[in-house]
Assembly symmetry: C2
């Protein structure tokens, strides 16, 4: 009952249509539109075909192509929660280089939920993605079995696993912590506390370990409670943790936190204790999320190159996909302390 229309919407022209219009064989049309390098095609014929394709508005069907070639130029990207301010630049960077290399980005926000992650992973695998970029990995949790024996190349973004060596793009947390600590020590602080983010990410774990190691290296003799891990990532978590520490007679004169939100919570705890930041207590955050330069006082924090990290993660994957022989390597970027006004010389 449907009327046959020439050009308009309804039925997309196929390669067959193009070949017909150009007066050549289907196979010839295919070759003309693909890599002219590998397949010999008469330039005149090729021009004819391309012309016909343009006139018909031919768009090659990637689905058909993928089925035939067994290559799906698509990469799945799994994000735990886009609301986390570190994620957008990560995704942006990754998508940028993926697109640059002709890959389509399949995106999913798992909301930190295991079931959601499994479902999205199944979708991606069903699409026969060429690779996966995971920002959802947890230290102690090995890659899903269906993932490992799917044989799909995986790159971890901003995360690592404890046991399994999987290629990853991460930052050197110890550098960030060291810079923050040395800054504070340089200001005369000796009683420095660390309020960490939860340990189920490699970043959280490494920051805590780095804090312990470096304070020891620098000869700081800290009570064990000065290095602690909070239950969550929020202002309230930071506030509660610092409040307890400030109640001690040997209260810290400076505090370093695992993220910026917790640092801002520390502002509240300091104020609640009748103290001031930075005069009485210095605060250093982590991540340099947007607007931390506008809070009161502007937050000294560790800036992490998340956009680059996203680019690197994607590059790693693309590289592995191109070269068959590329040793699966990882990359590690360096953060940098951004000194603003939440840190000051230790009170005398």
């Amino acid at each position: 009952m449907s009327t046959e229309m020439a050009d308009p919407a309804g039925a997309k022209p196929t390669l067959r249509d193009v070949a017909l219009a150009a007066g050549v064989h289907l196979a010839t049309a295919s070759r003309a539109l693909s890599d002219s390098k590998t397949r010999p095609v008469n330039p005149r014929t090729a021009a004819l075909v391309r012309q016909a394709a343009a006139k018909l508005g031919y768009v090659p069907d990637q689905v058909a192509r993928s089925l035939r070639t067994h290559r799906t130029p698509a990469i799945g990207v799994l994000i735990p929660d886009m609301t986390n301010p570190v994620m957008p630049p990560l995704v942006r960077g990754a998508e940028q280089v993926l697109a640059q290399h002709g890959y389509t980005t399949l995106f999913a926000d798992t909301d930190n939920d295991q079931a959601a992650e499994t479902q999205r992973l199944a979708m991606f695998l069903s699409w026969r993605v060429a690779g996966l970029i995971l920002a959802t990995a947890r230290r102690d949790q090995p890659l899903a079995p269906e993932l490992v024996n799917s044989g799909v190349p995986v790159v971890l973004m901003s995360r690592k696993l404890d046991a399994t060596p999987v290629p990853s793009a991460t930052i050197d947390e110890s550098v960030g912590i060291a810079q923050a600590l040395d800054h504070l020590i340089g200001l005369g602080h000796r009683r420095i506390a660390y309020l960490g983010v939860p340990l189920w990410t490699s970043a959280g774990h490494e920051r805590l370990v780095a804090f312990r190691e470096i304070t020891r290296d620098r000869g700081l003799d800290l009570p064990p409670e000065f290095a602690q891990v909070c239950d969550g990532y929020s202002e309230r978590d930071g506030e509660a943790a610092l409040a307890a520490l400030l109640a001690r007679p040997d209260r810290p004169t400076a505090v370093l936190t695992g993220n910026d939100m917790m640092a801002l919570g520390c502002y509240d705890a300091i104020r609640a204790a009748g103290l001031r930041c930075p005069a009485d207590v210095s605060v250093v955050g982590y991540n340099d999320m947007p607007l931390t330069h506008r809070v009161d006082p502007p937050l000294t924090t560790v800036r992490v190159p998340y956009f680059d990290l996203g680019r690197q993660a994607a590059s790693l994957l693309v590289e592995a996909l191109d070269d068959r022989g590329s040793t699966e390597r990882s990359v590690r970027l360096t953060p940098r302390l951004l000194v603003r006004d939440s840190t000051a010389p230790a009170p005398t």
Copy 2:
């Protein structure tokens, strides 16, 4: 030269393998694994097949399925810039309901670049996406021709077009502006300025129009310069614009901005003019981006339900895809003023 392996990585089992293992015909296996509603399948047989599929770790090939069915359960989402704080919740909301309905989200960040947008669009179209969600639309720019005669359903997210009626999920900007204005008027302000975001988005345009209409309605007699549009979206844009206004003898006692960054820039202009916010000049932002509650003073701003907007945009599209007869409708959500401390009674 490759060894044939039973289960391990290398070659994925196909439906044929499953059928063989289950001792049934390929077609039967297909039916057993698909909707048992439409096709009659013996429960015992179905169980056998599913068992075999599970044992082999069979994952249906979505590519093959799409080629055959001409249905690609994937939706392309085009974002102008994930760095814009309104975008993450939008994308998160959209992906969530898309996944809920079995759609894979193809994601692209166009970096506000026309060429990038064209390239990504071509990719998506080549994948034969079932639909598109665009957060990149510009008021004055009609949908790309290749898009319109591709016949792919489109939903605009947080944006609209001037001329073409395209289904969209947006917010009622006039409500947001009205609430902000009435709040200020209620505080006794009469000289209220508006510093808008650029006009190439429908939101930017509607906010400006709403400001003009509502101030007229409320009987405010404002100099035309009191309603103006800035070149960009940054703190500096807001600062510069307000600085000029504050130099006037009839300077505004309150300012409403098109986004939060510009509002924060206004803080700077006010301070630079030797005035205080909110004592001398009240400021109202727009969007309620993260941390606006922590700046000094905490910003009064219009909170926009971006997460819901993303969900609605996706719902609209899914709906249109399911029902063939769904009138292509749009949805309009309502923002709400969040009163914090950057607004105070007008100075006497």
